[in-house]
Symmetry: C2
Subunit: 117 residues, 2 copies
């Protein structure tokens, strides 16, 4: 991942509306959620939602497919992973005790294995 792409993705997430959308999709898994359903759950007007979905799509954080009249959005986990990797790259100058908690967070996120902290 390059600086510009990472910054663009982070900037897209740096907005309460878009962050809510993204987390919703991250939690939804591969199935995804239809635009209308997102609008209903988050209570946002459809045009505002659409513009934010577009921004998240452009930076590669989400994807979409049409199903009948609905458009289903999904998180792009690979790109999310690349982004987090970029943030942690060469972390903490050789002091493992600093990064260990980061690793623990990720391990705990292995879904369904135990409650979160």
């Amino acid at each position: 991942m390059e600086l510009k792409n990472a910054a663009a993705a982070l900037s897209a997430l740096g907005h309460t509306g878009r962050l809510s959308i993204f987390r919703l999709l991250v939690q939804a898994g591969r199935e995804g959620v239809a635009a209308g359903e997102i609008a209903r759950r988050l209570d946002v007007p459809p045009n505002t939602l659409s513009s934010n979905l577009n921004i998240l799509t452009n930076v590669g954080l989400i994807d979409s497919r049409r199903e009948g009249r609905s458009i289903i959005y999904t998180a792009r986990y690979e790109n999310m992973t690349a982004l987090l990797e970029y943030l942690m790259e060469d972390c903490c100058n050789g002091a493992p005790e600093i990064c260990a908690p980061l690793a623990d967070v990720a391990l705990r996120s292995r879904c369904g294995e135990e409650g979160r902290a």
Copy 2:
């Protein structure tokens, strides 16, 4: 972590200049780096740097201490961890194979244990 705080932190990172600063500090470890040294390494004017350091400080991503004439900046790893945790929270609806790569990234970041991917 709450939505607003997370969005503020991500927004602060969604800027190539600030993202570069933050990564520099993440990689520097607990020692930190003086403002002037950051300015030199990233080639940015001191007032612009100062304003961006201030923004990163306000969202809790970095910290500073004075040492003589210099002000030393450091990454706040605990808050970085909390931010990543927020992004991964309840990830992927019970499909561990989706989140596993995220965990791997974090494990690989255990500094100095092996090369990064």
